[in-house]
């Protein structure tokens, strides 16, 4: 039950993040809006990470660094920058559902490269997502 509550809080936090970004982006460029938001995210997550296990933050092999850079570039340079840019152009209501298809992308990659099976639920879900995206993308109001 507490797990469901936490998941709901996570979803709400991301929604609030998009709403306040939309307001701020009216007066600030997306490049540095992304940079400023990453600074605050970094501070919060570093504090929490140090509180959980202060030693873990430095306990990783050197070989992991290219993976960290890849993760940072994909998730935060491209991901958040495109996130804010799409909110800037489409608004929150239309941008967030399109960006929510990320699990479909990772599932597609898992099917393509890690031999995960395609199940009927996966096909129905993918169809539902595509129809939803088309409905949003073709909304002319």
């Amino acid at each position: 039950m507490i797990g469901i509550l936490f998941a709901l809080i996570a979803a709400t936090a991301w929604a609030v993040s998009a709403i306040v970004a939309r307001i701020g982006l009216q007066h600030i460029g997306t490049l540095n809006a992304t940079f400023f938001s990453l600074i605050s995210s970094f501070i919060v997550l570093t504090i929490v990470s140090l509180a959980i296990d202060p030693r873990a933050i430095f306990a990783f092999p050197i070989i992991a660094i290219p993976w960290f850079i890849a993760n940072g570039t994909l998730n935060f340079v491209f991901g958040r920058l495109f996130n804010y840019s799409s909110i800037n152009y489409l608004g929150v209501a239309r941008a967030t559902p399109i960006m929510a298809i990320a699990p479909l992308i990772s599932t597609g990659l898992a099917v393509a490269f890690f031999d995960e099976k395609i199940t009927p639920l996966l096909l129905v879900g993918t169809t539902s997502i595509i129809v939803g995206i088309i409905a949003i993308a073709t909304d002319n109001s």
Binding site: A21, L31, N75, V77, L81, N83, R94, A110, I129, I133
Partner: protein, 155 residues
Amino acid sequence: MSIPSKPDRRSNFIGIFFALSAAISYGISQVVAKKIVTDYAEPQVAAVTGIFFGMIGMFIVGLKDLPKDLKSPRQAQMFIVISGIFSSMGVLFLFLALDRSPVVVVTPIAATTPLIAIVLSIVFLRSLEKVTLRVILGAALVVIGIALVVLGRST
């Protein structure tokens, strides 16, 4: 740059391109993050190091516009800072949720973000955004679809 209240065709196309690009970036990064937490580091370390390198990257990319953006209204800067805080809170609570409940339960609930965002935008962004029934139904189909994809992957 101000947000157009009614996007034209070009803005619409660019916006959809950016949103799909964000989804692809996030989707690929989930695969990379999975590799990191499986082989190299704790989830919180993966998150902190990822943001650290992302921050350096964005500093370099945005450096040219930085003096101008530092002169933007303090209130706008605060909204962006708050956005970053809430975004990281989302990540934290997702980890907490995954620690206490199975992924098949947590992921579909976490995927309701678009529906919550639509409700919030109706309440708080009334003067900026017009939310149509078509967008609400489209978002609902996406959320249902994500839940089915996650369930289909887990079964």
